[in-house]
């Protein structure tokens, strides 16, 4: 009896220990999730001594410096601290203007008095940082990107992997190596890097790819689609876009409207339609809402007034300057600059169009209209009851020009994850980047550098068309027979652009054009992902390094086992045979 009681007690203690250990395991996992590191302090230091000082002060220091020099004493090193205060949410490079500066209404403080190009000519400016939450999600890492030493080697200011290049206060990418051909960018790695869906879209045109990517970056975009979206021209056109983690803010369908069709829309042949006032209102609305992509508003329509928002990046500039070293100026771009006047945006949304359109803007609109082929008024159309907004006033395509229209309406399809240019069928040719691998991460929100790739999902997208589908851009062309009834047929003509979306809930095959509608704009905030980054999966098999010696040794061991096995079996058979023989 005593034994039994003792055994029961032992069992109870063991059970309690097991429970405690299990709970301890859960606790450890939770604590790690909360302890994710955010950068809270950035400092620059000159030379090796400065680097040592930073390290002594508890900073993590990047070995790669900000100067294109091999002399350590002339190098500028970047150090940063984690979790030592409020997380930094934004970094800009600006000329030294004291302890703090104001950028778009956000206060930035000087992180260090050291010039980013000190000891190498100077004049690069200082690093300013902010902890204001409206500047973006907290930084979890800083990267330093350098172009190669080869002459004319370009470093594109958009990496397509979720990293954001540090900009100047005017939005242009901040090359911190201003006095040599080498380009050096600082890149921000933010929390919530995984943004599976495309939320904003713009066409950017320049003389060459470098110029187009630079212009897109200068206008706040952090992603672009590889390839020339309009091969009919000598210039280079890219699709710049922004990403979101919010499926409700995602673009759900993209269609091409034949330029003739747009003409008919505007001339009122297809619909009784809108009057000029409304159209002007749309344009002004689009202009007013051309906020920086970080603000992630729902609207992405860029009307023809896109070049009026405060930056000289218009076609005139492109015609006047052909300076390849400054692609921003060479850019013949479509996107607008940054809208810094919040009151103008609110006014545009609340007041009547006639009252809000300033004369100066109207003049610019007219000037731009003269440059484009079609007089643009159809900023938004209603296709089968779904509102589509025009992506850009720039028409693309040579023989059969069209305009891009997009919608975020859930009824139009599932969120678009990727865009392709060209007729390639090999999805792997597209640069996926961190965001895409994050998209294929395990269920639940992910954080920078902490997700686990769901290989199965990735495989499906790469090879299988069962779950995801790559759709050609649908082209809506004028159908003379049905035009009178207001019906426009969708032709499944393969365009140069295609979109990747989930198969379920594909866009309606028979979109019907109903006419012009007033575009609506509602600001949607992106909710920050909850912080969790522990994988809910267990690894299933061990993987080595495919060392040939081990494999050869293993094969030799197997061969030896087979050899000795056969010899032993043969020996036993002989013994048995002899035994039988003796008996006989």
């Amino acid at each position: 009896m005593k034994k039994r009681v003792f055994a029961t007690k032992i069992t109870a203690v063991l059970a309690a220990m097991a429970v405690a250990m299990t709970l301890a395991g859960f606790k450890t996992m939770t604590v790690r999730a909360e302890n994710f590191q955010f950068i809270t302090d950035i400092r620059l230091a000159e030379g090796e001594k400065g680097m040592t000082k930073l390290e002594d002060d508890g900073y993590s220091v990047r070995v790669v410096g900000l100067n294109a020099t091999s002399e350590e004493d002339n190098q500028i090193y970047v150090g940063y601290k984690y979790n030592d205060g409020d997380p930094i949410t934004g970094v800009v490079v600006a000329a030294d203007a004291g302890d703090s500066i104001d950028v778009d209404g956000i206060k930035y403080s000087r992180a260090s008095k050291v010039d980013v190009d000190a000891n190498n000519g100077g004049g690069g400016g200082c690093i300013y940082t902010t902890t204001d939450e409206s500047a973006g999600e907290p930084l979890v890492g800083l990267d330093i990107l350098r172009s190669g030493t080869a002459k004319n080697e370009k470093l594109l200011p958009i990496t397509n992997d979720g990293a954001q290049i540090v900009r100047h206060t005017d939005g242009t990418p901040a090359d911190v190596e201003v006095n040599s051909d080498t380009t050096i960018y600082l890149a921000e790695i933010r929390d919530g890097i995984v943004k599976p869906y495309i939320s904003k879209l713009a066409l950017v045109e320049a003389e060459n790819k470098d110029g187009a990517v630079y212009s897109a970056a200068a206008n706040g975009f952090n992603y672009y689609v590889e390839g020339d979206a309009d091969t009919s021209k000598d210039t280079y056109t890219i699709l710049a876009y922004e990403r979101t983690a919010d499926a409700k803010d995602a673009i759900t369908n993209l269609v091409a409207l034949n330029a003739d069709l747009v003409k008919k829309l505007e001339s009122g042949q297809l619909t009784p339609g809108e009057d000029n006032k409304e159209n002007t209102a749309s344009e002004e609305q689009a202009e007013a809402d051309n906020a920086a992509p970080e603000e992630a508003t729902e609207e992405t329509v860029q009307g023809e007034a896109e070049e009026t928002a405060g930056k000289e990046t218009g076609e005139e500039v492109a015609e006047e300057t052909e300076n390849e070293e400054n692609p921003d100026e060479a850019a013949e771009q479509e996107v607008t600059g940054e809208e810094t006047d919040e009151t103008a945006e609110q006014a545009a949304a609340e007041e009547t169009p006639e009252e809000t359109v300033p004369e100066e803007t109207q003049d610019e609109v007219k000037k731009t209209e003269a440059d484009v082929t079609v007089k643009l008024q159809a900023d938004a159309v209603d296709l089968s009851g779904i509102e589509y907004d025009r992506v850009s006033s720039r028409q693309i395509g040579g023989d059969e020009p069209f305009y891009l229209y997009m919608t975020k309406d859930e009824k139009a399809g599932n969120p678009i994850s990727m865009l392709y240019i060209g007729d390639s069928t090999d999805a792997s040719e597209t640069t996926f980047g961190a965001w895409a691998y994050g998209y294929f991460a395990s269920d639940g929100p992910s954080m920078a550098n902490s997700f686990v790739v769901n290989e199965d999902k990735l495989e499906k997208v790469m090879t299988s068309e069962k779950k995801y589908i790559r759709l050609p851009l649908a082209l809506l062309a004028v159908d003379e027979k049905e035009a009178g009834e207001g019906g426009i047929k969708l032709t499944a003509q393969a365009m140069q652009i295609s979109l990747l979306t989930a198969k379920k809930g594909l866009p309606d095959d028979n979109l019907v054009l109903n006419g012009l509608v007033e575009p609506t704009y509602e600001v949607q905030e992106i909710e920050r992902d909850a912080k969790t980054h522990t994988s809910d999966k267990l690894p299933a098999s061990a993987f080595g390094r495919a060392t040939p010696v081990v494999i050869i040794l293993g094969i030799l061991a197997l061969a030896a086992a087979v050899f000795f096995g056969i010899r032993e079996t043969a020996r036993r058979k002989r013994v048995l045979t002899r035994g039988k023989g003796n008996r006989e």
């Binding site: 250990m21 299990t22 301890a24 395991g25 859960f26 450890t28 996992m29 790690r32 269920d443 790739v453 769901n454 290989e455 199965d456 990735l458 495989e459 522990t534 994988s535 809910d536 999966k537 267990l538 690894p539 299933a540 098999s541 061990a542 993987f543 080595g544 390094r545 495919a546 060392t547 081990v550 494999i551 040794l553 293993g554 061991a557 197997l558 086992a561 000795f564 096995g565 032993e568 079996t569």
Partner: protein, 217 residues
């Protein structure tokens, strides 16, 4: 730094190898088969890496479709060798089979731990030990029991061997699918659920044979 897999491998087999001369014959055989299991794991981990590369780094497909096959075949070879060369006695086969499985799981857990140090918690250790340790042990025991059965039934040999391996492979693959899906808790429970009836069955079978053996003596 040298490859940590090899460092751990050396630490384990040297420790086991050193005690071999001190052990009694039967125990020595069990420990030897455990070392064989460790060696099998090292060998197959290298092969798995080659396969992973061959299948475009598709971890999920490889771990649910390919590695169960390769691992079970490699683990079955020592059992087959034992049955053909050493002894086809059921008890010897089963204990050796379990030793191979446990040895295999031992190094596998170590390798996975080294590759996922940041993920490791006590819960992780419990899940891996109870889950993976038992799965490898049970799969090889399944093969060991089956081989002892089909060795005496020639007509069953080919289809029986194939079916045994298939059963072990499917069981292993089921575990791998479960632990990599949202049903990972079921994956954790599955080996325990299989282990308990297997132990009861084996104990009963041993108990039933004891009186027969005594009677024969």
């Amino acid at each position: 730094m040298d490859n940590l897999n090899y460092i751990v491998f050396i630490c384990i087999i040297v420790a086991f190898g050193m005690i071999l001369p001190l052990l009694e014959r039967r125990t020595r055989m069990v420990v030897s088969f455990m070392i064989v299991g460790v060696c099998c794991c090292l060998f197959i981990s290298e092969i798995n890496n080659l396969l992973l590369q061959a299948f475009d780094e598709d971890m999920l497909y490889v771990t649910t479709t390919i590695t169960p096959i390769t691992e079970e075949i490699i683990k079955a070879l020592p059992i087959l060798y034992c049955a053909v060369v050493i002894s086809d006695d059921r008890r010897i086969l089963i204990s050796n089979a379990f030793a191979v499985g446990v040895g295999f799981a031992l190094l596998e857990n170590m390798i996975i731990l080294l590759q996922n140090v940041n993920e490791a918690t006590i819960l992780w250790a419990l899940i891996r030990s109870f889950g993976s340790g038992l799965v490898h042990g049970l799969c090889t025991v399944m093969v060991g029991m089956g081989i002892s059965y089909i060795r005496k039934r020639r007509k069953l040999f080919w289809c029986g061997t194939f079916a045994l391996l298939s059963a072990a492979i499917i069981y292993h693959a089921v575990y791998n699918v479960l632990v990599q899906s949202s049903f990972r808790n079921v994956g954790f429970i599955l080996p325990i659920l299989s282990y308990i009836p297997a132990i009861i069955l084996l104990r009963k079978s041993v108990a039933a044979r004891r009186p027969q053996a005594r009677a024969a003596a």
